[in-house]
């Protein structure tokens, strides 16, 4: 299935990228600052709220239970969302999801988005633009990345590698005037630009950090306030999330919110939105009317795209416990030198199984797997204690079966061990 010589090209290109990144002194500096502040903030947050560690253990159990009862949770969420006049769609593939979403937008629509890694699995921005929509990422980091045409370098701080000078260039171009590399000025200009777009937009697309099946409620954690506008101002709000975001109850969801935020280095995030249905009012004659001040239409699109296959395997299943807190990356052996280049779209060691199943396949996961030093330090820092080395081992075993272990690796190993591995 996978062609060996093509694979070798992928490995070479990937290693070249890593080597370029590791020689980039600015990236190094930016990363070491980010790592320092992440570690300091997380330490403070965990010291202030030491029970978070126990909550994380509990959350791991909740996640495991949820994955093992996923069909039940999906149908529970569907029933509740539909009962409350929202729309629900379970997409097996990104294509199905995209088709569903395409019916909700029309050419010329302004679409505002708040951060959603899962939506990358749909290549949604490109697809919507092809349809003639104007798409705005509204999370500042994502806004920069979108304009740079580069890939995100961290799951929480996608523009971790972009210095203020570069940001000034990008934002100047977007607003059509020369701006100084002054961070508050830049933030203010983006705010002005996007404020207009939030009002013009007919569709808002968001992700979800966790979803409570019992009420179908979606939770979104954020600091910038953009998700509130994305989910509150346009007429239609579409949520795109993986099925693994489901947990049974509202209380379970709150635990996920608390743990995710703490390990994402916040004592408390600026905002947590809980959304259960389209906006409504019954203030005139107790007659419920949809579309008060918030969206009139509310859609929840849950994506399988290989997740159910992952759930079946006890090793790969763990990868779906991931909260995207980013802690592993800040404590990684490899990441601090090369950032998201150690990854495909999903990054870091935990990115390997996600790449394998959700976005990229084995050919994109294998380079990540062979870069991971399998040191296990991330496990010590992961709130879900995901056994990344074990998962990486499994991907390597798949690579060996597919005959795509990197040739340079086989050769170097032969030199030391004397073991010859043919073909």
């Amino acid at each position: 299935m996978l062609n060996r010589s093509e694979m070798e090209k992928i490995y070479s290109e990937y290693l070249r990228q890593l080597s370029r990144a590791s020689a980039d002194r600015f990236l190094r500096l930016a990363l070491s600052r980010a790592i320092k502040s992440y570690r300091r903030n997380t330490e403070t947050a965990l010291k202030l709220f030491p029970h978070t560690v126990e909550l994380a253990e509990k959350l791991r159990e909740i996640k495991e239970y949820s994955l093992l009862h996923i069909d039940e949770l999906i149908s529970q969420a569907k029933d509740m969302i539909e009962d409350m006049k929202g729309h629900f769609f379970l997409a097996e593939t990104p294509e199905q999801a995209m088709e569903y979403i395409s019916d909700l937008v029309k050419p010329g629509d302004v679409v505002v988005k708040s951060k959603s890694l899962t939506s990358e699995e749909l290549h949604i921005n490109e697809k919507l633009e092809e349809m003639g929509c104007e798409v705005y990422e509204t999370d500042l980091g994502e806004f920069l990345i979108q304009r740079l045409g580069s890939k995100p370098m961290h799951i929480l701080s996608p523009a971790i590698h972009v210095p203020r000078e570069r940001a000034a260039e990008v934002i100047s171009k977007a607003v059509g005037k020369e701006l100084p590399p002054d961070i508050p000025v830049l933030v203010g200009e983006v705010r002005k630009l996007l404020r207009k777009k939030f009002f013009e937009a007919s569709v808002g697309i968001s992700g979800a950090n966790v979803i409570a099946a019992e009420t179908g409620s979606v939770f979104i954690i954020e600091n910038e306030g953009n998700a509130r506008l994305v989910t509150g101002l346009p007429e239609k709000h579409i949520v795109i999330a993986g099925i693994e975001k489901l947990v049974p109850t509202l209380l379970d969801a709150m635990i996920a919110v608390e743990v995710t935020s703490r390990y994402a280095n916040y004592k408390a995030p600026a905002y947590v939105s809980m959304i259960s249905c389209p906006s409504k009012t019954g203030d005139i004659e107790k007659q419920t009317t949809y579309g008060a001040h918030g969206p009139k239409e509310y859609h929840v699109v849950l994506l399988d795209n290989g997740r159910k296959e992952m759930i079946k395997d006890p090793v790969y299943r763990q990868a779906l416990y991931c909260l995207r807190c980013g802690g592993c990356m800040y404590n990684c052996t490899v990441y601090p030198l090369v950032a998201g280049n150690f990854g495909y779209i999903y990054m870091g060691g935990i990115g390997a199984p996600l790449t394998r199943f959700l976005l990229g396949g084995l050919e994109r996961a294998a380079p990540i797997a062979y870069t991971c030093t399998m040191c296990g330090r991330c496990v010590e820092h992961c709130p879900m204690r995901i056994d990344v080395p074990k998962i990486i081992q499994k991907i390597r075993e798949e690579a060996a079966r597919a005959g795509i272990v990197p040739e340079r690796l086989i050769e170097n190993l032969g030199g030391i061990t004397g073991v010859k591995i043919g073909g």
Binding site: T333, V334, Y370, T371, G376, E397, A399, L409, G418
Partner: protein
């Protein structure tokens, strides 16, 4: 006569760290032990397993079972071999190879406690102990190397910012040093400078893994000052050797 103790060196010691290996042999001899080595030791197949070839590793178990049979105990200075024999074959591949397996740090500490090795000579050095991932996080051996080092008179021990479970990998693990030696070396340099924050007056980094020794040495060349680039990387046996005898 029962063949009791086998010193299993591992590929990296045999091929690349010959003089460091000699120190291990000297320590064995200093304790007055009967031990054997294998002329055709071969590979433990940990790297082969780690590359993903588990079937090949399973096949290797047959040969190993033969060559190791009859020994009561295997002592190895390589944490990869240690983990392979002690944990991976029996726990992951369903093959118990028979003999008890010890890492040299465990074995040497026992000898010291039994009085077979006496660490009496002062070693005036400032060292840092680096926890190898295979030995520490993956095999749970944190104490023994530290206990040995703490018994060496004169030794000043510098502690890195992160130790034990939180210790930072040298970058040579998971076969990265075979996939991208240059990246592995840069990782080692970053680890020493930014994570461990080794001081300029450090004489040596001491560790219990040949893979770490090689990769740390490769990384040290990238450190920013001449003093830092002169830091040595040694194994535990070399330190023991320095402290043996005396009075």
């Amino acid at each position: 006569m029962a063949k009791d103790i086998l010193l299993w060196s591992g590929c990296v010691y045999r091929k690349n760290l010959v003089s460091e290996r000699e120190s291990i042999v000297s320590v064995f001899k200093a304790a007055g032990l009967d031990f054997e080595t294998l002329d055709d030791e071969g590979c433990c197949y940990f790297p082969i397993f780690l590359a993903g070839y588990i079937e090949k590793a399973k096949e290797r178990a047959d040969e190993l079972e033969k060559s190791l049979s009859g020994y009561e105990m295997i002592v190895t200075p390589c944490p990869a071999c240690y983990r392979m024999f002690k944990h991976i074959y029996p726990e992951e591949l369903g093959r118990n190879l028979g003999p008890e397996v010890l890492h040299t740090s465990q074995f040497f500490l026992n000898l010291i406690k039994e009085g077979k090795l006496s660490l009496r000579r002062e070693v005036k050095m400032k060292i840092m102990y680096h926890d190898p991932c295979e030995l520490g996080r993956h095999s749970g051996i944190y104490e023994e190397p530290r206990q040995i080092l703490s018994r060496i008179p004169g030794l000043e021990i510098f502690r890195p910012r992160y130790e034990r479970e939180k210790a930072v990998c040298c970058g040579g693990g998971g076969l990265l040093s075979a996939f991208s030696p240059s990246l592995a070396a840069k990782i080692a340099a970053r680890k020493l400078q930014e994570e461990d924050r080794v001081p300029e007056d450090l004489d040596a980094i001491v560790t219990g893994c040949p893979q770490c020794i090689s990769n740390l040495r490769a990384g040290i060349r990238f450190l920013k000052s001449k003093e830092l680039r002169e830091i040595k990387v040694m194994n535990i046996a070399q330190l023991i050797e320095l402290s043996l005898g005396g009075d």
